[in-house]
């Protein structure tokens, strides 16, 4: 079947602003949007730029706006989105070229969450693992699934309006450590998130939850963090 794909193109050398270009390629209904992009790049226009790596929804490289919503191109089938596609880069991050956005501001916000394990206690007597019960593990299971694709943060109107806002992805990653029974820096992270650019900028819009390719309950995680800030209990 023929798939018509309209792509927002931008090249810093040639364009003042972006422009749309339309291509038609032959594809199968079980192909993914990423396959269609590869066909365009391979057969129609080699200058098309987009990120991809694993092609299996694991690395988080190819989040983009597909027919107006943030999706991973490698997890979106043609039969689910139709044969007329509009592909645009993520919103709220500077565009470097075509579908490639500058992820640096996104990672900067992530780093502010101290996204690493903090526990200064000496190791347990056997020198091996710090144990936790299945229930303690389940507490933050959902937020361990994040692949840092930025689909949630760049779907958030609060982030579009203000990139000082840490954004859903950063909060999800903070949640992963705040609710981990082995970690000892929950207070520190909650303090950071209680600042003006923290959870207070979340207006429970749910664009993030809808955009997450991993099905993480993003708004719920943010809600739990908000509650922890309010009550001081994790």
């Amino acid at each position: 079947m023929d798939v018509t794909i309209k792509i927002l193109r931008y090249s810093p050398e040639k364009d003042e602003r972006g422009h749309y270009e339309t291509y038609t390629v032959e594809a199968h209904e079980n192909d993914r949007v990423l396959d269609v992009l590869e066909l365009v790049k391979g057969h129609k226009d080699g200058s098309l730029a987009f990120r991809r790596s694993c092609a299996h929804g694991v690395c988080g490289s190819d989040a983009m706006r597909i027919n107006g919503k943030n999706r991973l191109a490698c997890k979106t089938l043609i039969r689910d989105v139709g044969t007329t596609l509009t592909i645009e880069p993520l919103l709220g991050l500077p565009i470097k070229k075509d579908l490639i956005v500058d992820m640096e501001p996104f990672f900067d916000n992530y780093k502010k969450m101290l996204p690493y394990f903090i526990n200064d206690d000496p190791l347990p007597a056997d020198g091996r693992e710090r144990l936790q019960t299945p229930e303690q593990r389940a507490r933050f299971d959902d937020t361990t699934k994040c692949i840092m694709c930025a689909a949630c943060t760049t779907a958030c109107p609060s982030y579009w309006a203000n990139d000082e806002y840490y954004g859903p992805a950063a909060i999800v990653n903070a949640h992963r450590f705040v609710f981990d029974s082995r970690d000892q820096a929950a207070d520190l992270r909650l303090q950071i998130l209680a600042e003006t650019d923290g959870t207070a900028r979340c207006h429970t819009i749910y664009n993030c939850t809808d955009a997450c390719p991993r099905g993480i309950q993003v708004t719920k995680a943010i809600g739990e963090v908000k509650m922890a800030i309010m009550t001081g209990k994790v």
Binding site: Y10, P12, D15, R17, G18, R65, N67, G68, K69, L91, G92, L93, P94, I95, K96, K97, V101, D102, P105, A155, P157, W160, A161, D163, H203, T204, I205, Y206, N207, T209, D210, Q217, T219, K220, G223, E224, K226, M227
Partner: protein, 124 residues
């Protein structure tokens, strides 16, 4: 170099968000609508005279009443939903259902208000 990150209002409105995105937009319109109504009200009593009467006539007209009732009811009910969900984050898993319930409460309530306004305006 790169293209700026700015997201214009039309681009933002074109984002195909879930049900919660629509309620978010309507919530903002509701808030702005109420601010408009209150400013008109204050201005009308402040300046008085011809302009005051004109403003009075505008916000007392049935069309404006239909608009302002939408703003107040929607803003209140949607706000209530968000407060409840914020207090019980576990419920956030059922956000879509919560929005359906919200519409189920809003539509009859607002429908009744519109019906009453129209009846008063045209039926006496």
């Amino acid at each position: 170099m790169g293209l700026s990150r700015n997201v214009s209002l039309p681009t933002a409105l074109r984002y195909r968000g879930p049900a919660g995105y629509l309620t978010f937009i309507l919530h903002r319109i509701g808030g702005l609508g109420m601010a408009l109504f209150i400013s008109m009200h204050i201005l009308a009593s402040f300046v008085g005279g011809g302009l005051g009467e004109f403003l009075n006539a505008v916000y007392e007209s049935w069309i404006f009443q239909i608009f302002i009732f939408f703003c107040v009811f929607f803003h209140a009910i949607n706000g209530l939903r968000i407060v409840i969900l914020d207090l019980f984050p576990k419920l956030l898993e059922h956000q879509t259902q919560a929005i359906w319930i919200e519409w189920a409460v809003f539509i009859p309530l607002y429908g009744f208000a519109v019906f009453t306004i129209l009846k008063t305006a045209f039926g006496g």
